[in-house]
């Protein structure tokens, strides 16, 4: 039997999510997918469907509202998968670091494999990041990777993810956070 693992590298399908970015990096991502830089020559497709994609391209510093969607999308992607943080905001919070509505980078919530710097990252850097991520994707196993926050633990029954319970724990957690915030405001 031939090894299926080496074909992961040849057909990475991309899911792009904007976690509160200024659209600078998004424009550059679209530019790298468009005819001039032509990421499709590596077999890359921009699917827009988490259930069929392998590479998670995230832009933006993760605003308070977008973090649940971020983790939701991450858990909806079947393993093996890689995450690329595109742009300074996504890596560390960038110019928005320590602001009240910003969560300082996606690696507080999900494990990141490749960090692409730049404000905004140039298409060359993004292509470089994607190619680097493909090397990591080839090494990965099919184990489910845990997001760091929000969901706590992955709930799996007979090989099937129980998304409902995971989502319920998110709702409880955000209620707690809201309660804490309102307490702080009263004080």
């Amino acid at each position: 039997m031939f090894d299926l693992k080496k074909y992961r590298k040849k057909s990475p399908w991309i899911l792009h999510y904007n976690a509160g970015s200024c659209n600078g990096c998004d424009i550059e991502i679209l530019a790298s997918l468009a005819p001039k830089y032509d990421l499709e020559r590596f077999g890359v497709l921009n699917t827009g469907n988490p259930k069929q994609s392998d590479v998670f391209l995230v832009t933006g510093p993760v605003t308070f509202r977008s973090r649940e969607r971020l983790v939701e999308l991450y858990t909806q992607m079947p393993s093996p998968k890689v995450v690329i943080a595109v742009g300074s905001c996504t890596c560390s919070g960038g110019v928005f670091r320590d602001m009240y509505n910003v969560e300082d980078g996606i690696d507080n919530y999900i494990p990141v494999d490749v960090y692409v710097p730049g404000c905004a990252s140039s298409p060359e850097l993004i292509i470089d990041g994607v190619v680097k991520a493909l090397e990591i994707l080839e090494q990965k196993s099919k184990e489910i990777e845990l997001p760091k926050k929000l969901f706590g633990t992955i709930k799996e029954e007979e090989g099937v993810l129980n998304l409902r319970e995971m989502a319920l724990s998110v709702a409880q957690k955000s209620e707690q956070i809201n309660a804490q915030k309102s307490e702080q405001n009263e004080n």
Binding site: K5, Y7, R8, S11, K36, E40, N49, Q76
Partner: protein, 274 residues
């Protein structure tokens, strides 16, 4: 024996057509594009992924869609009745529509709705196509149609009407509203993942074989003419795909029901005067 080999390799030929279509589209946009074997690389990758199952019925309907389409292609290659082929193809579409409605996803429902509407648009043309061949040859048998000389001079309007349905069947612009990747995230295929999405992906390859083998019926017994017809139509379909934007589903149905339906009826009426 030769036919059985053809039936077995039909999905592979469809995959090659899909790959070459992606290459041709890339070259038309002045870029390098993916390798020719890209659909097969995608296939191997999808086999290696974990799969999420919404519920077993949904998954089975997806696999049935693929198997029915394969049966349709097999029946065309074996040269059976044209009406059987067209109605079995309808059954394959019904499977995918049922699969679309069997999950809760809004995009899946939208995709299934659009699939039904496009069925409304192209199915009359297919049935008129069979009728036209019946009026001309006196039989629905594909093997008889293949043995006689070309019917394209007698059925020119039906041929044009059939050409109009090709972008709709192959999910190419301007009639790709029922898939619409960035708009409704692929429609009915939104809830499939891993190896089960693979079946829908291969069904798309078989759709190529189905459409182009129906097209070769117009060429009759001349193999050279059939090859030329497929090559030219394939190229033109790609040029149209590259140079037009997506029209919405209402416009698609309206256009096909006015022009496709009208032209085929004209041709059928005209045949009675010949």
């Amino acid at each position: 024996m030769f036919e059985i080999v053809l039936i077995l390799i039909a999905p592979l030929v469809g995959g090659l057509m899909h790959g070459s279509q992606r290459v041709i589209r890339a070259r038309m946009q002045n870029r390098q594009g993916p390798p020719l074997l890209q659909p097969f690389y995608d296939m191997y990758k999808l086999m290696d992924k974990r799969a999420f199952i919404v519920h077993p019925y949904h998954t089975i309907l997806g696999i049935l869609h693929f198997l029915t389409l394969w049966l349709v292609v097999a029946l065309i290659i074996l040269g059976t009745n044209l009406l059987y082929v067209i109605f079995l193809h309808l059954l394959a579409t019904v499977f995918i529509v049922l699969a679309g409605f069997s999950v809760k996803s809004v995009f899946s429902h939208l995709g299934a709705n659009r699939e039904l509407l496009s069925l409304l648009a192209y199915e009359p043309i297919f049935i008129f196509l069979a009728t036209g061949f019946y009026l001309f040859f006196g039989t629905y048998d594909i093997s008889v149609i293949r043995e006689n000389s070309t019917a394209i001079m007698t059925l020119p309007l039906l041929f044009i009407a059939f050409l109009l349905t090709i972008p709709l069947k192959l999910k190419l612009s301007p009639f790709d509203a029922c898939e619409a990747h960035q708009e409704i995230v692929g429609g009915v295929e939104v809830e499939y993942s891993g190896v089960y999405f693979e079946f829908l992906y291969m069904a798309k390859w078989l759709e190529y074989i189905f459409v182009f083998s129906l097209l070769t019926l117009f060429a009759g017994d001349s193999i050279l003419f059939a090859i030329a017809l497929v090559a030219v139509v394939f190229l033109v379909a790609n040029i149209v795909d590259n140079s037009t934007a997506r029209v919405n589903i209402q416009e698609t149905v309206k256009f096909l029901l006015i022009w496709g339906f009208g032209l085929s009826i004209l041709n059928i009426i005209g045949l009675s005067f010949v």
